[in-house]
């Protein structure tokens, strides 16, 4: 069951990721990104991260991506101009580099990761309680700092979005 779910949603994720790259229309890319996030949320659940899965959906899919879609609609961004002109370096090397990067990473993962037991759904649950406990004890300072960061972001966004800039 675990493997099945993993394959299904990993497949969806990869497909949507590819779709994000190849689609010319921003909206399509945005929706495929939402798809990626949704499937990742499911994988999180599988990995026992119930809270993080929900947070993924609420924050990423529900807020950030909605913001993206909103902006895309607002700017009514049309399909990208198909004139595919990038620097020579990228045109010739980009794909190769990426392939090499991917291969190396996979190789390293395979070679380094201890052959521990695989993931079984429900074998371990990082409950919301644990997350909350840790977040408000061990990680209290980072938490507060992020709140400051968000405040800064809000102010920055408002300033940027003012009329007379």
């Amino acid at each position: 069951m675990t493997a099945l779910i993993f394959f299904i949603f990993a497949g969806i994720a990869v497909f949507c990721g590819i779709n994000l790259v190849v689609q010319t229309h921003p909206i399509a890319s945005a929706l495929s990104l939402v798809g990626v996030m949704g499937s990742l949320a499911v994988l999180y659940l599988q990995l026992g991260g119930e809270f993080i899965a929900m947070a993924q959906v609420i924050v990423y899919a529900g807020a950030i991506m909605v913001l993206f879609v909103f902006v895309i609609m607002l700017l009514n961004a049309g399909a990208e101009a198909t004139t595919f002109q990038v620097s020579r370096f990228v045109k010739y090397l980009g794909a190769i580099l990426l392939a090499a990067f991917l291969g190396l990473i996979s190789l390293m993962i395979q070679s380094t990761l201890p052959r521990t037991e695989g993931v079984l759904f429900g074998a371990w649950q990082g409950t919301t309680l644990d997350v909350g406990r840790k977040l408000f004890t061990a990680y209290l300072l980072p938490f507060e700092v992020t709140s400051v960061l968000i405040l800064i972001a809000i102010v920055g966004a408002i300033v940027l979005a003012r009329k007379e800039i």
């Binding site: 609420i58 529900g62 909103f70 609609m73 919301t128």
Partner: protein, 399 residues
Amino acid sequence: MILENFFVLTLIKVAVVAFVLLTTLAYLQWIERKVIAHVQLRVGPYRVGPHGLLQPLADVVKLITKEGLIPSHVNRLFYLLAPFVAVALALTSIAVIPFGPQITIGPVTTWMQLTDLRIGVLFVLAVSSIGVYGVALGGWASNNKYSLLGGLRSSAQMISYELPLALAVAAPLLLTNTLDFRDIVNYQSGYWLGFIPRWNLFPEILGFIVFLIAGFAETNRVPFDLPEAENELVAGFHTEYSSMNFAAFFMAEYANMVTVTAVATLLFLGGWTPPFPEPYSDFIPIILFALAGLVALYHGLNPVRRMDKFTLPATALVFLGIAAIFGLSLFVPVAKAILMALFWFCGKILVLLFVFIWVRATLPRFRYDQLMRFAWTGLFPLSMFNLLVTSLVVALTSK
């Protein structure tokens, strides 16, 4: 036995819930029309069936048989995807809503709930938060400036009202200290001083109000139905939609209403726990239905209209039958558990739904800037304040 199998059991539950829910949605619309009509001193649907009882059926037939036309220059994929997304997400969140306590029918022991998720509340929040895509996409895909505006408005509005909603939800969670709907309801069972139910409503009255208002906005209901403000943008995001697509949006709206009211019931009104202590609360449904039946019977015996001779006694019979069923169920524990829970749960939901409809019939629509200002300067600080006070109290009282 086959019934113990998880899949089979779930399938059965799903079938039952889906049937009941869809019927409810259909009739919800009838109820709405009726209520609004009576508020406005009209009679509302009256022709199809007695008191227009068959109106929903007729509507469904109409909608199905209509031509589902797709305007030119629309983004076909998203145009068709949008209503599907909307209704699917709207129906999904029902899956984690428990309708009653754990019951045991013969060998099978199960919860009156489709899936028992430990993080049901978060799940509902998540689903409702991505529910905006349906509206936004629909508005954007149907290549129409009114629709686009509607979509934009709805997405902005939903993002804005998501915050107060979440904060208002967080407050009772602080009290109950769990994310599981059933634990929340169990926490609210019991009574203060023996007769005041221990619902979160009383400590969290502020949160409840905020939740309801935000709920109006989340479901795009009056007075926050900006996305489909007829007199500004013809019908907002579903201007271009017709037949089943239109019906899907409609269903989504009502399903969202049901979800919001159900969540409100679970979080604040103690779910299926009766408002009165055990022995008295058992008789309330009997008395209620019996009274209704008697009234109907009385009017049937001295009718004012031609058909009343036949319809009202029939209704009376139905009501009395229900009353009888409740009465009998007092002697069958299982049946009693199920029926009582369902009665109280649905009763509370219906009351809240009535409030929704009532508000729609009463209040005018906000202007867009008013809507936003209200969200950010009124509702958000209010819910924040409520959350802070609650957390303070919890911190002080809990050891």
